[in-house]
Amino acid sequence: MKFDALTEEHLDALREVSNIGVAHAATALSQLIGRSISLSVPKVLLTDIAKVPEVFGGAEKLVVGIYLQMLGDARGNILIVLPRDSALKLLSRLLPREKSEGSLLTELEISALKEVGNILASAYLNALGTLMGKTLIPSVPVLSFDMAGAVIDYALIALGEVGDLALMVETDFFGEEEKINGQFFLLPDPESLKIILTAIGVHL
């Protein structure tokens, strides 16, 4: 299915199911860190691939990117992007205080952030899969701490192979007591988009 064939109705349906998915993810993250985390109503963006880095706040912004694949009955990529300071705040909630050496992340910190990604993605995919009556599972997460452009170009490869557009479901999450920002992106493969829309009862 071509992304440019999507109508407003299709995008609304995606927004609706994603809303339920991110609500589950917010609950899971709140429980993990013992603080209330809110997630915004998702935005569904259809963007030219060349413009995707702007969505992430510019190609040179330093971010932690946690990347997982959506596997099972529908395929795609999940990318969770945390600005550096938000990632460090999350870590301070998760790990005993460590002496930070330089600006690189330690093995333990990387592992903790991957687990955050795993929990968010699992909660999201579980909710989406239940709605669809299909099985969706996340792959093992991988992490990169670098410039946003470099972190995300990997997720664009599968999209670039079939077209010039990226469909993204974007959610901002933020803490209530302290500022923790992040973005959750679902980039479904074009072929899987049809499966998702059909399964949630949208007429194509």
Partner: protein, 162 residues
């Protein structure tokens, strides 16, 4: 002040000195720079994929694909008065941003991008004079068309000039 011209993913731009061609956040993508020192004119492409996956028919020839970017850029540079035989090339990028477990799906895309760029340069008879490729980190490039020098910036790495 030189004019600064930004090159996004899948784009290629050419410029005559004084101008600086920049591209930010190259990960597994590759930055291909061609330069004619005599005309002081250069081109920079930021390519995403080595080549189209399936048949190439019906796929628009664009700088999204490494295999075509060199040919397209040579055409543009010749239009700006460059001589193909004077062109030299520099490459940067083609990193592996995530650990090797994903190699099976996108099999070392950074390495394949670099290989595709080198193959295209060889086919076009353009010598590769410098490169800063591979590794596991992102790069930003500033290509000064007055000198042909490219500044390569990366996190946790000293600034390089190629």
């Amino acid at each position: 002040m030189s004019k600064i011209i930004s090159v996004s993913i899948s784009e290629l731009k050419v410029a005559i000195a004084p101008a600086v061609l920049v591209t930010y956040g190259l990960g597994s993508c590759v930055g291909i720079a061609l330069y004619d020192p005599e005309a002081r004119t250069g081109g920079l492409a930021h390519t995403l994929l080595p080549a189209p996956v399936r048949d190439t028919q019906g796929v628009e020839k664009s700088a999204k694909f490494t295999c075509w970017a060199v040919d397209l850029m040579v055409d543009e540079l010749v239009k700006c008065g460059c001589a193909p035989e004077r062109l030299v090339a520099k490459l940067a990028g083609g990193a592996t941003m995530f650990e090797s477990q994903y190699r099976s799906t996108h099999g070392g895309i950074g390495e394949r991008n670099v290989a595709a760029a080198k193959a295209a340069l060889e086919r076009c008879g353009i010598p590769l004079v410098a490169e800063d490729t591979g590794g596991d980190y992102g790069r930003s490039l500033e290509f000064n068309t007055a000198t042909g020098i490219i500044m390569v910036r990366a996190l946790q790495q000293p600034i390089k000039q190629i």
